[in-house]
């Protein structure tokens, strides 16, 4: 199993992280070494062992259904990279063909 720079570029696009050519060449062998090392978990992960996703046996934690104060809109928008008419302004979300 050797991860190629092209594989890493694809994973980067899936994770929405644009990687430069230089980064891809640097990252691919590093990730290979790391993945080869962590693959040993399979040695002891028998079919009879149940998985643990979380240390605490908590499920469906709900709070009381009461109205509480929320943050003021302007305080939240103050940290936004771009704002318009009291809302977050985002880049276009539709493709060219639309």
């Amino acid at each position: 199993m050797a991860l190629t720079p092209a594989d890493v570029a694809r994973l980067g696009e899936l994770a929405r992280v644009r990687l430069t050519e230089e980064e891809l060449v640097h990252l691919a062998p590093q990730l290979d070494v790391i993945l080869a090392s962590v693959a040993r978990v399979a040695e002891v992960a028998g079919a009879d062992v149940p998985p643990t996703s979380h240390a605490l046996p908590l499920t469906n934690v709900f709070r009381e259904d009461v109205v509480t104060e929320s943050l003021a809109a302007d305080a939240v928008l103050a940290g936004a990279p771009s704002v318009e008419d009291g809302r977050f302004r985002v880049p276009r979300i539709l493709g060219e063909e639309v």
């Binding site: 991860l3 890493v8 994973l11 980067g12 696009e13 899936l14 994770a15 929405r16 992280v17 644009r18 990687l19 430069t20 980064e23 990252l27 590093q30 990730l31 070494v33 790391i34 993945l35 090392s37 962590v38 693959a39 040993r40 978990v41 399979a42 040695e43 002891v44 992960a45 028998g46 062992v49 149940p50 998985p51 643990t52 996703s53 979380h54 240390a55 605490l56 908590l58 934690v61 709070r63 943050l71 003021a72 305080a75 939240v76 103050a78 940290g79 936004a80 990279p81 771009s82 977050f88 985002v90 880049p91 276009r92 979300i93 539709l94 493709g95």
Partner: protein, 507 residues
């Protein structure tokens, strides 16, 4: 003034409460120390002296009005830059959050402010708490006060270095795989990872949510306990918060007695890869505890050998999901918004520009481990190993009260030494990771020097038995301090290599 810097939090709070010294004087002394030495240490990303002095004045005014002060009122604290605090920039060590000023406080920030603790500023860390050296900070690397060419540990290296350079008597951090304990170990300070869920994650920038645990950092076990008591407790705003009483950690720290305590030494944590000086100090600490009446037995936890591998699958998987929130839309950096680029392209460009190398490595590993076709072999298997490690702990704690090991296999390594070898860097957390995977509590206590650099002694206890960490920690600390004629950091303060800290000759 240096005498105020050498004093611990418990002592300072007592003197402030009696009026022998004002909170303002204490805060001003620490701000001066930061101004004097932080050019060399680089522990702080942000210092707000005006705000700190105002908070100190409020404590002094309360005292003057005859109001009762809390046990840490007026004591300065260095806050890891992962906790939100209104009006103070929070970067989490990342360029992608540079300049963001949170509109709310973390629950722990609220608790600290309510207790009258004086926040001096925000400390440096590896980006999004990913690292063991602060070299992954998007801003700069923090230096170890014992030797400025060495790393201060990570991710909470800034908080640990602030304590060891007498810039603050208290600090807080977060521990996902060792980020409180490993920095404590390499700086000669005390660091505690409480039971998972005992300290609130609300308002703490998330790295791996099933592992992240905020906790106290200090120069003494009692100071850590006092801080633990202030920050712990159930929080309805954190869905994984434990609704159970906090063990009386302060009483445990004052009750430094290990007579009859059964201590298990983890057989798997030693040997190859462990620095001889670290093993030597660890062995001596065991003898000290035995001399104090503890019973020492060897315990095998066979699956701990797989903890690092499981961690480097589970953690990146959670990272790849958690860091999706940095999407350039609601806060932080935005790159490439030229009116033509689509939202996806702006996300790609922003995250490519804003995340550092380690964040990218982990996001990619996590994305890979969770992808269909690999999920069972990687993430699924890692979750099973998590079960096996928890079973190892359960079996061990059926026979012993606590488990112990060195906190980290080596003393502080040289800055740059492991920067391009991720696996070597990851091994710094070899001994600390199991407690994160199982969710129990653990601490690092200074146990001496090896080649002039601090060594940490790790103690692990069952979930919700955090008091045992403090009982053992205080006993070990009291005996070692009495043998040394002072704490480990007193040795630094009085030594030629610590002369630049300007705190010598007062005790």
């Amino acid at each position: 003034m240096s005498e105020l810097l050498r004093a611990g939090a418990a002592e300072l709070a007592g003197r402030i409460a009696t009026g022998e010294v004002s909170a303002r004087e204490v805060t001003a002394a620490h701000l001066d120390q930061i101004a004097g030495v932080d050019d060399r240490i680089k522990a702080f990303l942000y210092v707000d002296g005006k705000r700190a002095l105002a908070a100190a004045d409020a404590v002094d005014a309360k005292r003057a009005a005859g109001e009762e002060l809390g046990p840490l009122a007026g004591v300065p604290l260095a806050m890891k830059d992962i906790f939100t605090m209104k009006g103070a920039p929070t970067t989490c060590g990342s360029r992608i959050l540079e300049g963001w000023v949170p509109p709310y406080n973390s629950t722990i920030t609220d608790k600290l402010l309510a207790a009258g603790v004086v926040v001096l500023g925000k400390t440096n860390m590896d980006e999004f708490a990913m690292g063991s050296s602060t070299e992954n900070s998007g801003f700069f690397t923090t230096h170890n006060p014992w030797d400025n060419t060495k790393i201060p540990g990570g991710s909470g290296g800034g908080s640990a270095a602030a304590l060891a350079s007498f810039e603050a008597p208290l600090a807080i951090g977060t521990d996902t795989g060792g980020s409180i304990r490993q920095p404590a170990s390499v700086t000669g300070t005390v660091g505690v990872k409480p039971t998972y869920g005992a300290t609130s994650r609300y308002g703490v920038v998330a790295m791996a949510s099933s592992l992240d645990t905020p906790g106290p950092c200090a120069r003494t076990v009692l100071d850590a306990a006092l801080l633990h008591q202030v920050i712990a407790g159930w929080d309805p705003r954190d869905a994984t918060s434990i609704n159970a009483p906090v063990p009386d950690v302060v009483a445990a720290a004052r009750h430094a007695d290990v007579a009859g305590m059964k201590i298990g030494v983890v057989r798997e944590f030693g040997g190859e890869g462990y620095q001889p000086g670290v093993e030597q100090r660890f062995g001596e600490a065991l003898a000290v505890l035995e001399g104090l009446g503890a019973e020492i037995v060897e315990v095998s936890c066979p699956h701990f050998d797989y903890a690092l591998a499981a961690y480097y699958l589970i953690m990146p998987s959670e990272v790849s999901s958690n860091l999706a929130r940095f999407d350039a839309m609601r806060y932080g950096l935005r790159v490439g918004d030229d009116g033509v680029n689509s939202v996806e392209e702006v996300m790609n460009l922003t995250r490519g520009a804003g995340f550092g190398a380690e964040a990218k490595r982990r996001i990619i590993i996590g994305t890979y481990a969770l992808s269909s076709g690999y999920y069972d072999a990687y993430y699924g298997s890692a979750q099973k190993v998590r079960t096996l490690i928890t079973r190892d702990f359960d079996a061990a704690f059926a026979n012993v009260d606590v488990l112990v090991s060195p906190t980290t296999p080596t003393t502080a390594f040289t800055i740059g030494e492991r920067a391009d070898d991720p696996l070597a860097m990851y091994k710094a957390d070899l001994c600390t990771i199991p407690s994160n995977l199982a969710g129990n509590c653990a601490a690092s206590i200074p146990c001496g020097l090896a080649d002039g650099l601090p060594v940490g002694f790790q103690v692990m206890a069952p979930a919700l038995a955090d008091d045992r960490l403090y009982r053992l920690g205080a006993a070990l600390e009291a005996e070692l301090t009495s043998r040394w004629g002072g704490g480990l950091l007193d040795q630094l303060a009085e030594s030629p290599s610590g002369a630049y800290l300007n705190v010598g000759g007062v005790r």
